[in-house]
């Protein structure tokens, strides 16, 4: 349900851009989704065709590029890759790592006609 709301936002953003940038059809949508965001790429793929049906992006191809999670350890100040929000620091073991990248959910670009 959550992913469906986000896809409805995608459709609305496309429709606004279509007016502003004079295009009538979208053939490809590229999303950037952070690995630490609360969105499941497979659920987005599942819902995409349903939500875009009847819109200017009907039959468009969906490409999702995933952004890796990154954090900074509060204790040793080093930058660490994160697979989940609760990963400890791989260098010093501290559980206190602040996320600096990976929460993104955005439309990167479109291919339009």
């Amino acid at each position: 349900m959550h992913e469906l709301s986000l896809l409805e936002n995608v459709r609305e953003i496309l429709e606004n851009h279509a007016v502003q940038q004079s295009f009538s059809r979208v053939s490809q949508v590229t999303l950037e989704i952070g690995k630490l965001s609360c969105v499941e790429p497979n659920a987005l793929r599942f819902g995409f065709d349903v939500v875009m049906k009847g819109s200017l992006a009907e039959n468009a191809e969906l490409t999702i590029s995933e952004i890796n999670g990154l954090g900074v350890c509060r204790q040793c100040q080093r930058q660490v890759e994160m697979e989940s929000l609760y990963d400890p620091c791989i260098y010093c073991g501290s559980p206190f790592v602040k996320v600096i990248q990976g929460a993104e959910m955005r439309i990167k670009d479109l291919i339009v006609i």
Binding site: S5, L6, N9, E58, L85, Y86, M105, I107, K108, D109
Partner: protein, 262 residues
């Protein structure tokens, strides 16, 4: 057309009509780009359009409008989130009993169906507005913007928004609140913070509720706190029992410090 935010069906549909008509025209002529090669001459050219826009940009824009309104009117707003049954409504009812003579309080209740929670809040003596989200699993900032106008929230007050009981979706939707407060009851399991990390990451305060039941359940408070801090090093934590009143004043003191008096 809505006077508050400019929303309304007429606005969007009129803007979109030409686009949709063109699209339908193309579809009628079988101009699909999928499943077949284009042998015929093609007068259309594809181009790349940069968007770089957050999927939640619309919600976030409404949230910022709400936040500006709250700041201007000195309304301290909390977004209460939890799984269903953690005790959010009871927490609010007890909070209202203690604080309603100190400053004005209003409540926005979010549930998929029924007016039950708003009825309980009204019975406690403060105004409440129920939003039924229907099939949606969360409240959004646009709905809250309308609710604050309908409810007539007073200046220098506390506004509590009780979100839909759900530890997943409401974490993404900023409503313009000062803080998200996550309520976790000890009957739920101490590993909730890492099972549903997004919510505990988004919250500034965690209330560990129903502590009077600790002797009867297998819930390790220290382990729960450790998990919550792993997900969110800055989270503030208060342990309390709403129904028995244990440590309840730590929560009400936390509120009193933050609601700006007239």
């Amino acid at each position: 057309m809505c006077g508050i935010c400019g929303c309304g069906q007429t606005d969007n549909t009129t803007k979109l009509k030409p686009v949709l008509r063109q699209n339908q025209h193309l579809l009628k002529h079988g101009h699909s780009h999928h499943g077949h090669a284009h042998a015929h001459a093609h007068h259309e050219t594809e181009r790349l359009v940069k968007v770089e826009q957050d999927l939640l940009s619309k919600n976030n824009a409404y949230a910022e409008q709400n936040r500006a309104y709250f700041q201007q009117h000195h309304i301290f707003t909390l977004n209460l989130v939890s799984s269903p049954g953690a005790g959010k409504t009871t927490l609010l009812v007890e909070t209202i009993k203690v604080l309603k003579d100190r400053f004005p309080i209003a409540v926005i209740e979010g549930d998929q169906q029924t007016e039950h929670d708003a009825d309980r809040i009204r019975a406690a003596g403060v105004p409440a507005l129920q939003i039924n989200t229907g099939r949606a699993c969360h409240l959004d900032a646009h709905g809250i913007g309308h609710a604050i106008m309908d409810l007539g929230v007073r200046d220098h007050s506390l506004l509590a928004i009780e979100n839909v009981g759900n530890l997943v979706c409401p974490s993404s939707f900023d409503l313009g609140e000062a803080h998200k407060v996550v309520v976790l009851s000890v009957t739920e399991g101490d590993d909730k913070p890492i099972k549903y990390p997004d919510m505990f990451h988004a919250a500034d305060l965690m209330l560990i509720n129903k502590t009077d039941l600790l002797p009867y359940v297998d819930f390790d408070v220290e382990r729960c706190i450790q998990y919550a801090r792993q997900v969110n090093p800055d989270i503030h934590i208060i342990k309390l029992s709403t129904t028995k009143g244990d440590n309840f004043s730590e929560w009400t003191d936390w509120l009193i410090k933050r609601v700006k008096p007239v």
